[in-house]
C-alpha cells in the first residue's frame, strides 16, 4: 500500500494551442484534504479530470491509488468518487431515486444498499427531502445530495471540483464538517476552490495559476514562507495613496480593505514599514499609521501568482 493517494509527474494538457496544465508535479498523501487553489481558468478542473481518467494527458505520468492512469482508469472507478462542478445528478428524479440509481450503478448488494442509503439520508440531513425532485432543491441541499451520492460506494478517494460555489456560508461550513468526517474514516479528498476560507481548511494546498503549480504546502507553511512583508497603512486618501504605492518598484501590490491599505512589500527591504511611510511622506500624503501584519492566505496567493507574471 502506497502512502500517497495521488502521484503525478510532468503532467501536461494542451487543447489546441492552449496549455491548460503545464508540467504539474503532485504528491497527495492519504487521509488528507488536499486543495487546489486557483482563479477560474487556472487548470484546476482539467487537472482533476486527468487525475480521475476523464481526460488523457498530453504528457506525464499519473498514479492514483496504485493504478496507472489513464490506462487503468476503469479499475479505479470503483474506488473513487467524483463530484462535478455543475450538479450532475438527475434533476427530474427524486432524492431517493437518485441515491438508488447511484447505489445500483456501483452494484451495491441489496442489504448494503439500503443500509448505506439510510445512513446517507440521515447523515446529510436529507430525511425530509427524500420524495422531492432534485431539481427543486436549494444549492446547499443539492450539494449535500451530490456528496451523499458520490460517497455511497465508500470511495477511498474523493475528487470535489468547486463543490461549494453555489452554497451559502452556513451550508459551506456544514459541508466541510462532513468532509472532515470522511477524512476521519480514512478517505482522501482532493478539492478545488477559489475561496480563501475554504483553502485555509485544507491540510495541504497547491496554488495553481495559468496551468502551473506556483506554490505548495500547508496553509501555515505557505504563510510562513511568503517572500514578502505585509504592511498595513492607514491614511485619509487610501485610493490615491494606493495608486501611488503601486508605482513603487519595491512594492508588489496594494489592496484596500475597508479604510486601510494592505501593502505587499518586497522582502529585500530591511525595514519595510519605514520604506512605505517614507515614500508616503515624501509624496506629501498624510499618514496616520503604518505597521507590519501577519500574512494571510490571500497574500500568499497574490504573491505566488505575481511571481509568475514577473517571471514570464
Amino acid at each position: 500500500m502506497t502512502e500517497l493517494a495521488i502521484q503525478a509527474h510532468g503532467l501536461c494538457k494542451t487543447f489546441g494551442k492552449v496549455e491548460a496544465v503545464k508540467s504539474l508535479n503532485l504528491e497527495v498523501p492519504r487521509s488528507r484534504i488536499y486543495g487546489f487553489l486557483g482563479p477560474n481558468g487556472s487548470g484546476k478542473t482539467t487537472a482533476i479530470r486527468m487525475l480521475c481518467g476523464l481526460l488523457t494527458p498530453t504528457a506525464g505520468d499519473i498514479n492514483v491509488l496504485g493504478y496507472s492512469i489513464p490506462k487503468e482508469a476503469e479499475a479505479l472507478r470503483l474506488k473513487v468518487g467524483y463530484m462535478t462542478q455543475k450538479f450532475s445528478l438527475f434533476e427530474d428524479l427524486t432524492v431517493d431515486e437518485n441515491l438508488q440509481f447511484m447505489a445500483d450503478i456501483y452494484t451495491l448488494e441489496k442489504k448494503l444498499k439500503h443500509e448505506r442509503i439510510g445512513l446517507a439520508i440521515e447523515h446529510y440531513g436529507l430525511g425530509k427531502l427524500v420524495k422531492q425532485r432534485a431539481g427543486t432543491l436549494s444549492g446547499g441541499q443539492k450539494q449535500r445530495l451530490a456528496l451523499a451520492a458520490c460517497t455511497l460506494h465508500a470511495p477511498e478517494l474523493l475528487f470535489l471540483d468547486e463543490p461549494t460555489s453555489a452554497v451559502d456560508p452556513e451550508n459551506r461550513r456544514s459541508f466541510w464538517e462532513a468532509l472532515f468526517d470522511l477524512v476521519a474514516e480514512g478517505t482522501t479528498i482532493l478539492v478545488s476552490t477559489h475561496y480563501m476560507d475554504e483553502a485555509e481548511r485544507c491540510h495541504a494546498l497547491a496554488i495553481l495559476d495559468k496551468g502551473s503549480l506556483v506554490a505548495e504546502g500547508s496553509p501555515e507553511e505557505l504563510q510562513a514562507a511568503i517572500d514578502a512583508t505585509i504592511v498595513i497603512v492607514e491614511t485619509d486618501q487610501p485610493r490615491r495613496v494606493g495608486k501611488m504605492l503601486e508605482q513603487q518598484s519595491f512594492i508588489h501590490s496594494s489592496a484596500q480593505v475597508g479604510n486601510v491599505l494592505r501593502v505587499m512589500v518586497s522582502s529585500d527591504q530591511a525595514t519595510p514599514e519605514k520604506a512605505v511611510s517614507d515614500v508616503i511622506k515624501r509624496e506629501g500624503f498624510n499618514l496616520k499609521n503604518c505597521k507590519i501584519a501577519k500574512p494571510g492566505l490571500e497574500d500568499v496567493f497574490v504573491a505566488a501568482t505575481r511571481e509568475r507574471k514577473t517571471a514570464v
Binding site: L54, L89, F90, E97, I105
Partner: protein, 365 residues
C-alpha cells in the same frame, strides 16, 4: 449479474424520467395517431369523386352510355348538367368543378371517324393529381368508341392485385408504421445521450463503473417497448379506421417491427455520439427522415426511381422495412420468403451498435 444491475438501474431511471416528461410521453401516443389520420386520409393518390359537370349536346344513347361509364368509375361525381362550353368554363373558374365533359351535337358521327375526337374533356390543370385522374378518365371513354376495330380486345385490360379497390390507405398504413417509427425511434435515442451531456449527467455517469455497452443497451430497452406500443396503435387504427387487411400473422408483423425498431434506436445512438447538442441531434434525425419518406418506396414506387436514388434508399432501414411489412401485411408472405430483407435489417443493427459503442468514449477528450 453486476452488469444486469447497472443496465436495470439505467432502464428504471429512463422510464421514470420519461413518465415525468409529459410532452414526450404525449408524443409517444400523439404522433402515431395524428400521422395515421393525416396520412391515411390526405395521401390519396387515386383521386375519386372529382366534381364534374356535363354538357351533353347530343343526347343520344351512345353519349348517355359514356357518361354512365364515367360515373361508374367513381372518378367523377357529376354535380351539374349544363348546356354550353361557356357554362362549363365558368363553373371551373369558380372552382366548383375540376372536370368538365363536353359532348358535341355530332357525337355519334364523330365516334365513327377514327381521326377525330368525339368529345372534349375539360380539366382543371392546377392540380397535377387531377390531371392524372383525367387521363384515366379518357381511357374509360375510349371504350365507347365503336370503330371498325371494335372486334379487337380493348387496348389494355386493367386488373389490380392486392388492392383491387385501389384504396391508398391499404398501401399507406403499413408503410406508415415504418415512417412513424423512423420519426420517433431515431429521435428518442439521438437525443437521449446528448441531453445527458448537455445537462452534465454524462460527466458523472462516465466516472462510474458503468460500461459503454451497458449504457447503450440500457438506453435502447425502454424505447423498444414504446415502439411496440406505437406499432399496436397504428395497426389498430389502421384496422378499424381504414380497414387495412392483414394477410400475414400478427406475430410476424411484430417480429419484423421489433427488428426495425432496434435498428432505428441503434441508428439514433450513432447520431447521439456524433453531435454535441440536442438541436443538432434533431436536425440530423430529420436529415435521415426526409430521404426515408421520399426514397424508401413509401411515397413513390422504388422501381421508378433513378439508380443513384435507389442506391441511397438501400442504406436506409425504412426501405427494407417497407418491403417487409407490405410483404407480410398485404401479401401474407412468410418470414422465410423475406429473410433477405430481414437479414439486411439485422446487419444494420450490428453495424450501428458497433459504431455507437466504438464512437462513445468514456473520456471527455
Amino acid at each position: 449479474m453486476k452488469s444486469l444491475q447497472r443496465i436495470l438501474a439505467i432502464v428504471v431511471k429512463e422510464v421514470r424520467q420519461l413518465r415525468r416528461d409529459r410532452l414526450t410521453f404525449g408524443m409517444i401516443v400523439g404522433i402515431p395517431v395524428l400521422q395515421l389520420i393525416m396520412f391515411g386520409y390526405a395521401i390519396n393518390m387515386d383521386v375519386r369523386h372529382l366534381d364534374a359537370a356535363i354538357a351533353d349536346m347530343s343526347g343520344t344513347s351512345a353519349s348517355r352510355q359514356m357518361v354512365m361509364d364515367m360515373s361508374e368509375s367513381q372518378i367523377i361525381n357529376v354535380i351539374e348538367q349544363v348546356s354550353s362550353v361557356e357554362e362549363l368554363e365558368h363553373l371551373m373558374r369558380q372552382g366548383k368543378i375540376s372536370v368538365g365533359i363536353y359532348i358535341p351535337p355530332d357525337f355519334d358521327r364523330r365516334l365513327h371517324q377514327a381521326n377525330r375526337a368525339a368529345a372534349q374533356l375539360l380539366v382543371d390543370g392546377s392540380d397535377t393529381v387531377v390531371q392524372g385522374a383525367a387521363a384515366q378518365l379518357a381511357q374509360v371513354a375510349s371504350q365507347v368508341r365503336t370503330s371498325p376495330y371494335n372486334d379487337r380486345p380493348p387496348v389494355m385490360e386493367l386488373r389490380t392485385y392486392y388492392n383491387p379497390e385501389r384504396r391508398s390507405p391499404v398501401n399507406t398504413v403499413p408503410g406508415l408504421v415504418g415512417v412513424i417509427l423512423t420519426m420517433t425511434m431515431i429521435l428518442f435515442t439521438a437525443v437521449a445521450i446528448v441531453r445527458e451531456r448537455e445537462r452534465g449527467n454524462l460527466e458523472m455517469l462516465i466516472t462510474t463503473p458503468v460500461r459503454t455497452s451497458e449504457l447503450m443497451l440500457a438506453k435502447i430497452i425502454p424505447y423498444v417497448f414504446i415502439g411496440l406500443i406505437q406499432v399496436s396503435l397504428v395497426l389498430l387504427l389502421g384496422h378499424f379506421l381504414f380497414h387495412v387487411p392483414m394477410a400475414g400473422s400478427l406475430l410476424n408483423i411484430y417480429a419484423i417491427t421489433l427488428v426495425f425498431i432496434v435498428a432505428n434506436l441503434a441508428l439514433g445512438l450513432v447520431i447521439s455520439t456524433l453531435v454535441s447538442t440536442q438541436f443538432q441531434a434533431m436536425q440530423l434525425s430529420f436529415f435521415i427522415l426526409l430521404p426515408s419518406i421520399l426514397l424508401s418506396g413509401f411515397m413513390f414506387p422504388f422501381a421508378g426511381m433513378p439508380r443513384p436514388a435507389q442506391m441511397i434508399a438501400e442504406v436506409l432501414p425504412l426501405t427494407h422495412f417497407i418491403r417487409l411489412i407490405r410483404g407480410v401485411m398485404l401479401r401474407g408472405a412468410s418470414l422465410l420468403e423475406l429473410s433477405a430483407e430481414l437479414l439486411v435489417l439485422c446487419g444494420f443493427i450490428g453495424v450501428f451498435m458497433t459504431l455507437a459503442i466504438l464512437r462513445f468514449s468514456k473520456r471527455l477528450d
